[in-house]
């Protein structure tokens, strides 16, 4: 009797499991309570603005609760990755495309719900945005994210430091990379060997955005057109590394990845640094940190320099593409609510450009925005964006970028020869490509 009962029990339980697994997922109810976890990187201005957007969205969607979590920018990639590795990723998150590309390839994020954005398909949605700004997030015909911000760098110039060096920033600002090197020699000041006035700070966190266009203007490439060869064009790469060697402490000591990051130093305007490559988001930060400097007229943004030999048609610079993504493991109802929230956010590009931290959400309407008139030099940055292309973000981008940074610090700081740095980078990057 006991055995019969046990067999029956096992059969009942098994039947329940099978029927539950095979049952179609219930359609989400309109008023079903949904909690969305939204993780993004720190930006005080944007955070405050997005908190307002969340409150506004929740009013019109009373069943949706959005938990807004801000994580340190440098920790973001590992925090989100760890959460996904445990199959507990946030429903919505933001990330540069080169970090997120593997999420797309591994099916961790879902294609955009085009209908929510009033679009028929991917092409129709891409048409709502400037130029090719949606192409980095497009894989096999589908778009996997909507832009949080597209960032191209302008060259921020402190006119006071130029004056101290006997230069007129308005006339003498660098138009080419060669100018930048020549000017650096005139601007830098030393106490013995110690650099006291720094010429320029590059953005080493996003090496491709900073240097890819320069290498391509010299004829080099990160990846061959057929996608099989990494670090193409030996001569261009060697010229690039020779130039960077001159910039670094192992060369003439104008700049170094190990020197204090200039974003905050530039705002302090205490004569430490003359130029820095930063996005448009820096403008409100100057106002916040140093209103006297902001209003002094002693700073400006000039276009990203090109190589003297660059053709007119060569992209001036590369831009960093940060998108919002939706977790493919979230429930269908949560995914739907997430895209609705993101469509709501994407309807406010002018506000993102203004009080949202001066981030450029490349909706076509942004070019006509009145906010642009209130943001000094926004025309320089947006004109630069029109002449730019997306930085390399495809397979292995993150690994190759890390190898690139290592080669750069070897050349600039350690004094490794350009030939040796090129060889190491080429071998490492090729191994990454071969293993894809």
């Amino acid at each position: 009797m006991k055995r019969l009962f046990a067999v029956l029990l096992v059969l009942v339980v098994a039947a329940a499991i099978v029927s539950a697994a095979g049952a179609p997922e219930a359609a989400p109810k309109a008023d079903e309570p949904i909690t969305l976890r939204y993780w993004t990187h720190e930006d005080a201005n944007r955070q405050a603005f997005e908190d307002e957007l969340i409150a506004e969205f929740q009013k019109t969607h009373p069943n949706v609760t959005i938990e807004h979590t801000v994580v340190p920018t440098k920790k973001r990639a590992e925090l989100i990755q760890t959460a996904f590795a445990a199959n507990n990723g946030p429903d919505i998150f933001t990330m540069p495309i080169e970090d997120a590309y593997q999420y797309i390839l591994d099916g961790r994020v879902t294609p955009v719900d085009y209908a929510v954005f009033g679009a028929k398909d991917a092409k129709d949605l891409a048409g709502q945005y400037l130029g090719t700004t949606m192409s980095p997030a497009t894989v096999e015909g589908d778009i996997y994210g909507v832009p949080l911000e597209i960032t191209n760098y302008g060259l921020y110039v402190n006119k006071r430091v130029f004056r101290d060096a006997g230069l007129d920033a308005d006339k003498d600002y660098p138009k080419t990379w060669e100018d930048l090197l020549t000017l650096s020699e005139k601007i830098c000041k030393y106490d013995g060997q110690i650099l006291t006035v720094r010429a320029v700070d590059f953005n080493y966190d996003h090496c491709f955005v900073q240097f890819q266009s320069l290498i391509e203007q010299m004829g080099g490439k990160i990846l061959s057109d057929d996608g099989k060869e990494a670090i193409v064009g030996e001569e261009a790469w060697l010229r690039f590394f020779r130039m960077m060697h001159e910039f670094g402490p192992a060369g003439k000591n104008y700049a170094s990845p190990s020197y204090t990051y200039a974003r905050k130093l530039f705002n302090a305007a205490n004569g430490d640094i003359a130029m820095a490559f930063i996005g448009l988001y820096q403008v409100p930060r100057i106002l916040k940190d140093n209103p006297e400097f902001y209003n002094s007229g002693d700073w400006m943004i000039v276009p990203f320099p090109k190589m003297a030999e660059a053709k007119e048609s060569d992209p001036r610079s590369c831009y960093l593409s940060q998108y919002y993504y939706v977790n493919a493991q979230s429930s269908p109802a949560a995914q739907k609510a997430a895209w609705e929230f993101l469509a709501f956010c994407q309807s406010k590009p002018e506000e993102y450009l203004g009080r949202g931290g001066s981030v450029i959400q490349p909706r076509k309407s942004v070019l006509e925005s009145a906010v642009l008139d209130t943001l000094p030099y926004s025309n320089v940055v947006l004109d630069g964006l029109a002449e730019s292309k997306a930085s390399y973000c495809e397979g292995g981008a993150k690994e190759i970028e890390a190898l690139f940074l290592a080669a750069l610090t070897d050349v600039m700081d350690v004094g490794v020869s350009p030939e040796e740095a090129y060889k190491t980078l080429k071998e490492g990057a090729q191994a990454v490509i071969d293993e894809l």
Binding site: F84, A85, G107, R108, Y259, K398, A406
Partner: protein, 306 residues
Amino acid sequence: MRQKKYRGIERKLALWGWGFNIPSLVFFAVFSFAPIFYAIYTSLYDKRVLSLKAPNFVGLKNYIDIFTNKGIGFLDSLKSSAIFSFGAFFPLVIFSLLFSVLVYNNYKASTQRKFEILWYTPAVISSVVATTIWMLIFDPRGLGNQVVNFILNTPGVDHRWTSNPSMLRFVTIMVYFWKYIGYYIVLFITGLGTIPGTLYEAARIDGASRMQCFRRITLPLLKPTISLVSVLCLIHCLKTFSTQYMFYQSGAPLKPINVISLSIYTTGITNQRIGRACAMSIILFAAMIILSIAQLKLINADDIDY
């Protein structure tokens, strides 16, 4: 009626012992042993962090790759770890022993506690604060250059603390020393407290000097603590991560400080190759076990009787 089985008192005590130890054994099994076995298992697969597909079994390929593929840089990491461990281990053990003897012999217990707290403070300072402090010190215009140039009378020399490979290695060892010496001092002071004071009294009556007391009494009787500290210190040095990570994040060149743990981090987290990272961590684990056993044999701490 069943006759009650007689159990000896030792057996009863042993059962109680098992009872008390089982929770910690379960804890260790779940949180220490299981991850080790899982890491060994994962190291045999080409597992990528984000992939939802079942990983391919690759056998020992991950182990072969890390030793033969120069692009992975694991052999460079072994070298960096060896240099760091050699550079940090001896100063840490020797100075923590000397400082603790100095404090133990010259100050009363309440003052010893204050010293312990003082030495231990850096270990509890947040990494962010420590990074900020040290990067300010090692800035070309920072305190590091100023102090060294004042002492050496070399005005205007940039010692390139964070850009020159040798200096960078020295700096990581220095920061590590600053951060963790307090921990070992606390251990040594505790060990010193276990040596009976009567031995010193008897030695002094017999006319022994302080140095003789140190050499003939303190050092031999402190062998178990020296053994513990040196094994812990070696393991900690081999596992070092946060100090190198802090400098790497601040723009320092990676190669001179790319110790094994940092290499595991970049392989597993940045490059998402968790199978390969597991293979690296198994190698590190094996190295730690072998070196620790060798060290215990060398010190022979069991050979103490008083």
